[in-house]
């Protein structure tokens, strides 16, 4: 009971902060900066889902951007063809992407990990080709005429909801099951745990938030294009999770923030972005093979730093 009240308190506090910023700060902020922050937020939503699937459950999904595409186009279609308002469209986008995640995950996750990588890769490609060849979805020219609704407030409301949802899932007993599946699936099965079910659950939740992320893109600039959801985007997200630390939620979110903002910061040398990515990746593999935070959370790291601060009482026994 007290735990629950605390969680709702945190949720209310974070949402109040988001909307406080939206109402009192954003109007006076450089729109260019706001634009970067919104793009970062959209990436955060996709990456937190992938952190659950790849980082915690160990399932190598290489087509996360495909689920963003499903979410984006489902939201756009619901608005253009059925008049669903954007907030409803975001829910539709998440749900349809979750359904797609179920369809891809259920048959594939029974098999060994290698199949998932191949199938999700194919899924990402097939979705793009389907959209490009569907006149109703605008084909390669994209869909236009969507209402603009993705503000800082809406984006970060989704980020807060998604972040708390996934965090709660991870601290629940199910979170331990996800990690057990990642560390040793056979041993997990031998304990009486239906690992396929656990993997599908993680996959569907991850797809849902990727769908929400895609839907926010649909309502951001009034148009969407299939080229926004291609394979390179999926790979970028895998890089963010691996760089941030598998088995950490805050690590990938920090990595996603840095790597999403980096191209903007490096705009003058934008053509070297992938080179810089590669260098950062290689440097990371050498210097921190377990990622930025390894399997720790930011809060653990801060706690440890706090305990190690000069003048702190030694906690060693």
């Amino acid at each position: 009971m007290r735990q629950g009240a605390l969680a709702y308190g945190i949720l209310a506090l974070l949402l109040a902060a988001v909307w406080g910023i939206e109402l009192f700060l954003v109007p006076w902020t450089d729109p260019y900066l706001t634009d970067i922050v919104i793009r970062v937020g959209i990436n955060l939503l996709a990456v937190m889902g992938l952190a659950l699937v790849l980082g915690f459950t160990g399932q190598f999904s290489l087509g996360h951007a495909g689920f963003m595409a499903v979410g984006a186009y489902a939201a756009a279609a619901s608005t253009l063809y059925a008049g669903v308002p954007p907030v409803g469209g975001i829910v539709v986008g998440g749900l349809v992407a979750a359904l797609a995640g179920f369809g891809v995950g259920l048959p594939t996750l029974r098999l060994s990990g290698d199949y998932l990588a191949v199938v999700t890769l194919g899924f990402n490609g097939i979705i793009i080709v389907l959209i490009q060849n569907s006149p109703a979805l605008g084909g390669a020219q994209g869909l236009t005429g969507l209402p603009v609704a993705t503000t800082f407030g809406l984006t970060f409301t989704c980020v807060v909801l998604g972040g708390l949802f996934i965090r709660n899932l991870l601290v629940s007993p199910l979170g331990r099951v996800f990690e057990a599946v990642r560390d040793n699936e056979i041993a997990t099965r031998s304990l009486g745990i239906d690992t396929t079910r656990a993997k599908v659950l993680a996959f569907v939740v991850g797809a849902f938030w990727a769908g929400v992320s895609g839907a926010l893109i649909a309502y951001y600039r009034s148009s969407i294009f299939p080229s926004q959801f291609q394979f390179d985007r999926s790979i970028e997200q895998v890089a963010m999770v691996v760089l941030g630390g598998t088995g950490s939620l805050s690590g990938p979110l920090i990595a996603a923030t840095i790597l999403s903002a980096l191209p903007e910061v490096l705009r003058p040398v934008a053509q070297y972005r992938m080179v810089i990515y590669s260098i950062v990746l290689i440097a990371m593999m050498i210097l921190r093979p377990t990622g930025l935070l390894g399997n720790h959370e930011l809060s653990d790291v801060l706690k440890r730093l706090w305990q190690k601060r000069p003048g702190a009482r030694s906690t060693a026994a």
Binding site: R176, A180, D183, G192, G247
Partner: protein, 237 residues
């Protein structure tokens, strides 16, 4: 809290290679049955097949009257069988407590789970002192204790142990075998796979010898301890 396990005509293949050739084994209720055999004889294959992790080409595995072949691994645990696998296989990134809790995943009785956690900690106080430690940082012996304790947390009627002595110092092994005996005396049926034939036969009631996928011998454990051929092959003279 005990049950009889009956394996009949079990044949298992890895591709073209037949690993088990119509194996028959009885694990009587409330007793310890030892399964001996050289490397590659098929002991692990047999335990994995009982647990539903391998699918046999033919044969049957029954706990009391319930057929287990064809059931997924998680239903086998619900039916009352759990396994401490070869090579420990604890979850290195989870704490000792979380490893034990996962062992009790199928159970709904929270008080019973807590009581069994206390029981495991009572058997191995070293685990109790390390409940919040990540399992990957435990010593080999501690990990073996944890693997067995984790298998006990589902409160199995039949406990399968695959080489609990593997790679451990003799004094640690002696402690683990004492505990296996204690668990058995509390009523759990045990099927024990061991290379350390002498120790296994000393605590077992029955012994089987598996050779290249087929049962070569079945006898009371005391008899096998005295058997010249067995002494030569598995007891170092």
């Amino acid at each position: 809290m005990s049950a009889t396990l009956a394996v009949r005509g079990l044949s298992v293949f890895y591709g073209q290679m037949q690993a088990l050739h119509g194996v028959d084994i009885d694990v009587p209720k409330g007793q310890i049955t030892a399964l001996l055999g050289a490397n590659g004889a098929g002991k692990t294959t047999l335990l994995r097949t009982i647990s539903g992790l391998n699918t046999p080409r033919s044969g049957s595995v029954r706990i009391d009257e319930t057929e287990l072949v064809g059931k997924p691994a998680h239903e086998v645990v619900s039916a009352g069988i759990s396994q401490s696998p070869e090579g420990r296989q604890v979850f290195p990134n989870l704490t000792v407590r979380e490893n034990l809790q996962l062992g009790a995943w199928i159970r709904k009785d929270k008080d019973g789970v807590r009581a069994d956690m206390d029981r495991v900690v009572g058997l191995w106080p070293r685990l109790g002192e390390r409940l919040a430690q990540r399992a990957g940082t435990l010593s080999g012996g501690e990990q073996q204790m944890l693997a067995i304790g984790r298998a006990m947390m589902s409160r199995p009627r039949i406990l399968l142990l695959d080489e609990p002595s593997l790679g451990l110092a003799p004094v640690i092994v002696a402690g683990i075998f004492e505990t296996i005996q204690a668990v058995n005396q509390e009523g759990t049926t045990v099927l024990l796979v061991e290379q350390n034939a002498h120790l296994a036969l000393k605590i077992a009631h029955w012994g089987y010898v598996l050779e290249t996928g087929a049962i070569q011998k079945r006898a009371p454990a005391a008899e096998l301890l005295d058997d010249d051929a067995i002494r030569a092959a598995y007891l170092g003279g």
